[in-house]
């Protein structure tokens, strides 16, 4: 709800320039472009989760379910139905969104820890389906035997199949679209009702806002965008396995959002970047990389309760 001040605009321009130029500077600092794609994809998932967590004040521990539905949706579409990346993304995203829309009414009346627990429970249902239904999902071994396909746009063909930079830019375009939708909604009257619910649910209700309905909408939008991230995750790896649906994956999204700062729009992307880079570096050094991320997380929560970006912002403004 903040106005468009110059500082903020400048920060936005810098972020987008860095993202656009990633294939050029990332290798120079010792990274590789798949790592960049991974940051963007998981960043999108964490930002989508944060639409619900940071802007509506509702904590879900089950977003991996919709992430995984998107991932399996695109994989199964390409493997079994039609070898089209675009169609796969569409079907995967719709699958996750529709599932969220149907599950929503059963859970939106719950609050706090009860909501979180029930979202985990629904997530685990999808996990066990993917885990057990070997003949279709590949079970524990994951869904293999497919790859992303070149993108046919009519006037041109983009080779995202073998050119990782081209795939990165596809991810970035969809990321930008998804962020555009979120930013636009958050500045609208509807977005303000969500912030009102986060700030004070009782007041929101007695201002005539049907809180459950608005939480449902926020939930569906959030899960829909997480499904989109899930499709991109599967395409990035050319592979899906049930871990994409597992509840710890949901926990990772929450960690990213809180790590980066859940009260800021870009925070979860920063959180995802820290998480992915730490994981990439530490997992090559030690099998216990998760304990280091855990330690880092605890330190951030203790000393910078508004996340890394919240801390930086306070330093800049003071």
């Amino acid at each position: 709800m903040n106005g468009l001040d110059v500082n903020k605009q400048a920060a936005n321009v810098v972020v987008w320039l860095l993202l656009l130029a990633m294939p050029y500077w990332l290798p120079a600092v010792g990274g590789y472009i798949e790592l960049g794609s991974r940051v963007i994809v998981l960043g999108l998932a964490a930002m989508a989760l944060n639409f619900l967590l940071g802007y509506t004040g509702v904590l879900s521990f089950g977003h991996a379910a919709y992430f995984g539905l998107g991932a399996y949706g695109v994989g199964m579409m390409i493997r079994y139905v039609a070898p089209s990346t675009g169609l796969g993304i569409l079907v995967g995203t719709l699958t996750g969104t529709i599932a969220a829309a149907i599950i929503g009414p059963m859970i939106i009346r719950l609050r706090g820890v009860y909501f979180a627990m029930v979202t985990i429970a629904f997530g685990q249902v999808f996990y066990f389906i993917a885990f057990r239904w070997n003949s279709v999902t590949g079970g524990d071994d994951g869904l293999t035997g497919w790859t992303r396909k070149a993108l046919h746009l009519g006037f041109a063909t983009v080779d995202i199949q073998s050119n990782p930079n081209a795939f990165y830019y596809l991810v970035l375009v969809l990321f930008a679209l998804a962020l555009g939708v979120m930013a636009w909604l958050l500045r609208s009257p509807f977005g303000r009702t969500l912030i009102a619910i986060r700030e004070n649910e009782r007041r929101a209700r007695f201002l005539g806002i049907p809180v459950d309905q608005h939480i449902w909408l926020s939930w569906v939008i959030s899960c829909g965008l997480v499904s989109l991230a899930g499709t991109l995750y599967a395409l990035l790896n050319n592979f899906v396995d049930p871990r994409a649906l597992y509840w710890t994956q949901s926990g990772d999204f929450v960690i990213m959002a809180v790590l980066g700062g859940m009260r800021s729009f870009w925070g979860p992307l920063i959180g995802a970047a820290i998480y992915v880079v730490l994981q990439d570096y530490l997992s090559s050094q030690t099998a216990n990389w998760m304990s280091f991320i855990g330690l880092f997380f605890v330190l951030v929560v203790l000393f910078f309760p508004r996340g890394v970006l919240g801390f930086i912002r306070r330093k800049v403004t003071s």
């Binding site: 009257p189 303000r192 209700r205 007695f206």
Partner: protein
């Protein structure tokens, strides 16, 4: 037609009868005060009218229609808005934003993903008007959570007013305030009642405020209605003096 008609409403919490068969009729343009000692059931009675709680027996009519089982948000749409004993605002948003949200909801924009230029200008003008009325114009961009108690309360009242209610319910609007703040809020309520012809029901502990503002007073004690009348009648009522005014003096 009466604006609000409460008919023999009771509320039980287990074996406790918090409100016991209370009736009340409020006419359009009236300012009604509900008073009574602590634990008399005033706030519970209020919560029944606003839909925060559902009554065990009895019914509530608003503008002639039975709203007994209508949800809180829908009672707001029908024209009942309220404030709370403990101020309920959006503490981390500015005064302007706190007021903008109810103005947008009242304009029917709660689900809108965008606003036309005209609608936006209209909303801004209305927010400014409300801030001026509530004496908040110089604090427009401060976070409400950082304001003095009196200003927070004024913000809450203006938020309730932003909904263009036909009935405003104020739960202890001067609770916990100093003399100056109490005076300011009393003047604000008086202004809304006189200039806007707004119908108001308020719960109040401060007798100066009650006798200064109210057209009629209802006294509750132990969940039952003890008396009802003009401020003069209530002041002269012996049962009230014994149960309530006497107690506070003691």
């Amino acid at each position: 037609m009466s604006l609000l008609k409460v008919e023999n409403v009771s509320k039980h919490f287990g074996s406790l009868v918090a409100v016991d068969s209370v009736s009340m009729t409020v006419e359009p343009g009236e300012l009604r005060a509900v008073i009574g000692p602590n634990g008399a059931g005033k706030t519970t009675f209020f919560n029944l009218i606003s839909g925060f709680l559902t009554q065990t027996t009895g019914r509530i009519l608003f503008e002639g229609e039975d709203i007994s089982s209508v949800l809180p948000a829908q009672r707001v749409w029908r024209g009942i808005s309220r404030t709370f004993q403990i101020t309920e605002v959006f503490p981390e948003l500015s005064v302007r934003e706190n007021l903008r949200i109810p103005v947008e909801v009242a304009g029917g924009y709660r689900l809108s993903p965008w606003l036309s230029r005209d609608a936006d200008a209209e909303i801004r003008a209305r927010v400014t008007e409300l801030m001026d009325m509530g004496g908040l114009a110089d604090k427009a961009d401060r976070l409400v959570g950082e304001l003095a108690h009196g200003d927070q309360r004024a913000t809450e009242i203006m938020m309730a007013l932003a909904l263009k209610p036909r009935l405003l319910l104020l739960d202890e609007p001067t609770a916990g305030m100093g003399d100056q703040e109490t005076y300011d809020i009393t003047q604000l309520i008086r202004k809304l009642h006189r200039d806007q012809k707004l119908s108001i029901v308020l719960i109040e502990h401060d007798m100066r405020v009650v006798f200064h503002l109210a057209d009629r007073i209802m006294v509750l004690a132990e969940g039952k209605m003890l008396a009802e009348g003009t401020p003069k009648e209530i002041a002269a009522n012996e049962a009230v003096q014994a149960a309530y005014l006497g107690k506070t003096a003691a």
